[in-house]
Assembly symmetry: C2
Homo-oligomer: 206 residues x 2
């Protein structure tokens, strides 16, 4: 059996080398077990390496060979969760915003993503350093894409020149999040992203 | 010592009589302990009557004298948490919406309210009956107020006649929730409610 030492690419910034070929399978099982337990509502600090190992069907040593501690594992697991945002098309800002909102809608309908967001939002005071890492891995890159889109719209004249960017960002994300959580089956409507963007573009006033 | 048997008023629908005068103090301690533990991030089913009793400095029997089980206690605790919505002024729909958003902002900045909302949003699949009770006690009455305001605005011509009420509700609540959770100190800005309502009334497009 040969031992390779390839560097991991992608969002798994703190993961160590995947090691032997069969280790990739174990790694996937560990990440999946972590996300499944989060998705079942387990809090950040209830998660234990022991429970994750049992769920993944591996020994604790197999986990510690890759991650120094459960915080590192958690951040890597979260990073694998987020679908990538589509690249801007260069067409209208409306179309690009809709494409982003489709990704948000998909995430908002996924129990594991929902629970991660919930942890990131609610644990900031108790565990600022860990939440900051999750934010850097999973939230900030998306904020940057939407902010760039909003600024592009202000420059092209598609959006109001006096737009409050932070508020516009909150209304785009917040509307999708709240709607998907409160509207049951309607949360999966294929035209939701389009409706949200057009609703915010036009405003509710007369 | 006299024994009174007054019926509890207000949101504490399932609370039994407060009994002797000093019981009111114990009841408050029990409710506070429950809310504090929720606000510290404790999940619904980690909460135990034993731990609540210890935190409140009362015996378990004192709790069981008032509530049959922790679910009843939880629902009563949540019901005490929500500030009442201001009654409609009969002025503009804009002003009434702003008054409601001020209450939402205050709640969104309160760790205990945030954690309750998080529980209500994330536990729906695992614990549908309990979440339904929380929703009836704390969420539905507010939804009804905002829905009535939006419909009034459609009738008076202040809001678009073709308004998607569910979407408008989600954008009002979702914007405040998301902004307060992502913007740090700006979340406490005294003019936030006004800015959110005007932002949504006018829309972000040109």
């Amino acid at each position: 059996m040969t031992t390779t030492d390839e560097t991991q690419a992608g969002g798994a910034g703190t993961a160590r080398s995947a090691g032997r070929p069969r280790s990739a399978k174990a790694e996937k099982a560990i990440i999946d077990a972590t996300l499944d337990m989060i998705g079942e509502g387990m809090g950040l600090f209830e998660l234990s390496i022991e429970a994750i190992a049992a769920r993944a069907g591996v020994g604790k040593t197999t986990i510690y060979r890759r991650w120094c501690n459960k915080e590192d594992l958690f951040v890597d697991a979260v990073a694998t969760l987020k679908s990538p945002f589509p690249p801007p098309t260069g067409g209208s800002v409306r179309d690009d915003l809709i494409a982003c909102m489709r990704v948000f809608q998909r995430d908002a309908n996924d129990a594991r993503s929902r629970c991660v967001m919930s942890i990131a939002m609610n644990e900031a005071e108790r565990h600022p350093r860990l939440v900051e890492r999750v934010s850097q891995a999973a939230i900030e890159p998306r904020k940057a894409v939407v902010t760039a889109l909003l600024r592009r719209g202000m420059a092209t004249g598609e959006l109001r020149p006096d737009l409050d960017v932070a508020l516009a960002m909150s209304s785009l994300v917040g509307t999708v999040m709240w709607y998907t959580r409160s509207q049951g089956e309607a949360a999966s409507a294929p035209d939701l992203a389009e409706r949200v963007v057009d609703h915010l573009l036009a405003g509710i006033g007369t």
